[in-house]
């Protein structure tokens, strides 16, 4: 759709600009200021140049957190994307089941993130949790997410998959529903198997929504904070300390404003790069690859 060129449209955007600028630009400038100073207290600061950047860029714990973060986001995508598509394929297309399925599936998405953590604490505790106790006593597999890093990872992954696969499933479902019936009819007439129908019709037609699902899941898992904070607090050791958890530890708990500022900027720029890729991908979808 051709848009009307009109610079006065800025007036309509102005309130949004002001409110987001207030919440984004001022804090960002503050973080820039922090990142070049050693701050002892209000108005007591020494200019240190790029020292904090040098320190944070060489910080082994930050590297570990970053790789952990990439591993986590990668695993999230590898598990959630196929699973979400499978669920979407299995969901009914019409009838009373649709509403029921949609509401049930969307339920985890509306639970506050810390409640998600709480649910999974209660569910996986080795003494009182159905999952933890079940693993330990029924299957005889020792399981304790508070003591063993692998168990903690399994728990965080389970929680994440439980929490966010519905988003992928709902997006994929919406994409599937948008495919005109004629495509399925043509496939039947051409004698296509269920697998070829999926491969040559459903998957290509879902490409748009799946791109969005992929990017959203990547971004959101990259920013994950509340759930592992509640569930494991980043432990045991630092085994589930993701970037946000580490940043909060430095900036809010230790109140190291300088390194925290430098860290924030590094984190932000990484996210900015992915956002840019995200945006470009969306633009492409908008330009003619629509379902």
């Amino acid at each position: 759709m051709e848009k009307w060129p009109n610079n006065r449209a800025w007036l309509l955007v102005l309130p949004v600009f002001v409110i987001v600028a207030f919440s984004a630009i001022i804090p960002l400038m503050t973080v820039i200021n922090y990142s070049v100073q050693d701050i002892f207290g209000p108005n007591q600061a020494i200019f240190v140049g790029f020292e904090w950047f040098r320190e944070m860029l060489a910080d082994k714990r930050l590297h570990d957190a970053l790789w952990r973060q990439f591993l986590f986001s990668g695993l999230v995508l590898v598990i959630e994307m196929p699973l979400g598509i499978l669920i979407a394929l299995a969901m009914p297309k019409k009838g009373w089941g649709v509403s029921l399925c949609l509401v049930t599936i969307a339920l985890p998405l509306l639970i506050p993130w810390n409640t998600i953590g709480t649910i999974w604490i209660i569910f996986t505790r080795p003494d009182i949790g159905l999952f933890g106790a079940g693993m330990n006593s029924l299957l005889g597999i020792p399981f304790d997410h508070t003591a063993r890093p692998l168990d903690a990872w399994i728990t965080v992954m389970l929680m994440e998959v439980w929490h966010w696969t519905p988003l992928v499933a709902l997006l994929a479902y919406a994409g599937l529903r948008a495919i005109p019936e004629a495509y399925y009819q043509a496939a039947r007439i051409d004698g296509a198997s269920a697998w070829s129908t999926f491969l040559y019709i459903q998957l290509p037609k879902m490409r748009g929504v799946l791109t969005i699902a992929f990017l959203l899941r990547f971004m959101d898992s990259f920013l994950i904070y509340a759930e592992p904070f509640v569930l494991t607090g980043g432990g045991p050791g630092n085994s589930t300390t993701f970037l946000s958890l580490y940043l909060v530890k430095i900036a809010l708990l230790q109140f190291d404003l300088g390194p925290g500022g430098a860290f924030s900027l590094i984190y932000f720029v990484i996210v900015l790069l992915f956002s840019f890729i995200f945006y470009q991908a969306l633009e492409r979808i908008g330009k003619g690859d629509k379902v």
């Binding site: 004629a182 009819q185 007439i189 051409d190 296509a192 040559y200 290509p204």
Partner: protein, 361 residues
């Protein structure tokens, strides 16, 4: 190639149809001969697509049987029926090349790759698609896409019939004509049974040897374009075919004269004879091109007021008022048209009578 027979077919989308109006298709009993080019013509919502889906096997009818060459196929799924279908908008496998699109139905049937290649090249040649074979199907123009959809049906050597569901809807007007001619040419070359669904009478009448007109879930008439034009068996056919449609005048009968609010119109002796013992509402019908318009009275002419004259190029359409009825007449451009009033003549050989909507014959 096959002869397609529909035996007392009816279909309802409701699980338990009771009333007549629950049925999307009321009663279809019809045969399409092998190698025929047939059209199904009717307004939107008359059940054309439902009927087509029953023929292709995408729908199983609530009642009745479908036979291909005398063999019952009613419950067979589309992939077992050897038919092909071209949909309203092009249905393609966008990620594949044109070649792979055309090869897809053959590969699914486990045909040897060498045979696939031969056949695809042959069909691509017929459809003028050879130059595009390596291109991605998604990037082509609508008419090329529609040709690919058709090609996916043609590649199968065993295909019994090809069904078209308003295939020209998304094609630009100037290409429509071209594609329609291509279809006709392919039909002549391959002698396949073509069933062509449309709501456009021009498309139906130019494409098909035999046109079935559908109305509210029923086939009201099957015939050649000429038959449909000259002897519409139902008021709907008369009204739907021809531009403008047939004129209808509610009338009563007295001897061999029809009374239309006060004026008398002379009828053919045999028609009047048959009509005399018919019950129900009678109506007189005449095609605009047969309605005589004269500047002066005489014979059995009837006086009417002229309301409007539209110039359509080599003919003109005159809108007339006869009592409370509005009539249209089409006149060739040389014929003079009187100013305000005209005297109409109803040639008996072209004047038809309808009882409760159906032609009296």
């Amino acid at each position: 190639m096959a002869r397609i027979e529909l035996n007392e077919v009816a279909h309802s989308y409701l699980p338990k149809p009771v009333k007549d109006s629950d049925y999307a298709l009321k009663r279809i009993h019809n045969v399409w001969e092998d190698g025929a080019a047939c059209a199904l013509l009717g307004p939107s919502g008359c059940g054309k697509t439902t009927l087509l889906n029953i023929v292709s096997g995408l729908l199983i009818p609530s009642k009745g049987r479908v036979l291909y060459d005398g063999k019952e196929v009613t419950a067979l799924p589309p992939e077992k029926r050897n038919i092909a279908q071209v949909f309203q908008f092009p249905v393609l496998y966008d990620t594949m090349s044109v070649y792979n699109n055309l090869a897809f139905p053959l590969r699914n049937r486990g045909i040897h790759e060498k045979a696939v290649r031969e056949r695809v090249l042959e069909i691509a040649d017929i459809l003028d698609l050879t130059d595009f074979l390596k291109k991605r199907a998604a990037g082509l123009a609508a008419d090329a896409k529609q040709k690919i959809s058709l090609g996916r049906g043609l590649v199968r050597s065993d295909v019994a019939a090809i069904l078209f569901d308003e295939p020209l809807t998304v094609i630009d007007p100037q290409l429509k004509w071209h594609l329609r001619r291509k279809l006709k040419e392919i039909h002549e070359k391959l002698k396949l049974t073509f069933i062509y669904v449309t709501h456009d009478q021009v498309e139906a009448l130019t494409f098909a040897d035999q046109v079935a007109v559908m109305f509210e879930g029923e086939i009201v008439q099957i015939g050649s374009p000429q038959e449909l034009f000259e002897n519409p068996e139902h008021r709907f056919v008369g009204y739907f075919i021809g531009s403008p449609g047939m004129n209808f005048l509610e009338c009563t009968l007295e001897g061999n004269r029809a009374h239309v609010n006060g004026t008398e119109i002379l009828l053919d002796e045999t028609t009047a004879e048959k009509s005399r013992n018919k019950k129900g509402n009678l109506a007189l019908g005449i095609r605009p091109m047969y309605l005589g318009v004269h500047p002066n009275p005489g014979g059995d002419r009837v006086k009417a007021d002229i309301r409007m004259v539209e110039d359509q190029g080599n003919y003109r359409i005159v809108t007339l008022k006869l009592g409370k009825h509005t009539l249209k007449a089409s006149l060739s451009e040389e014929r003079p048209i009187p100013e305000k009033e005209a005297w109409l003549s109803f040639p008996t050989e072209w004047t038809r009578l309808f009882a409760d909507g159906w032609l009296i014959k």
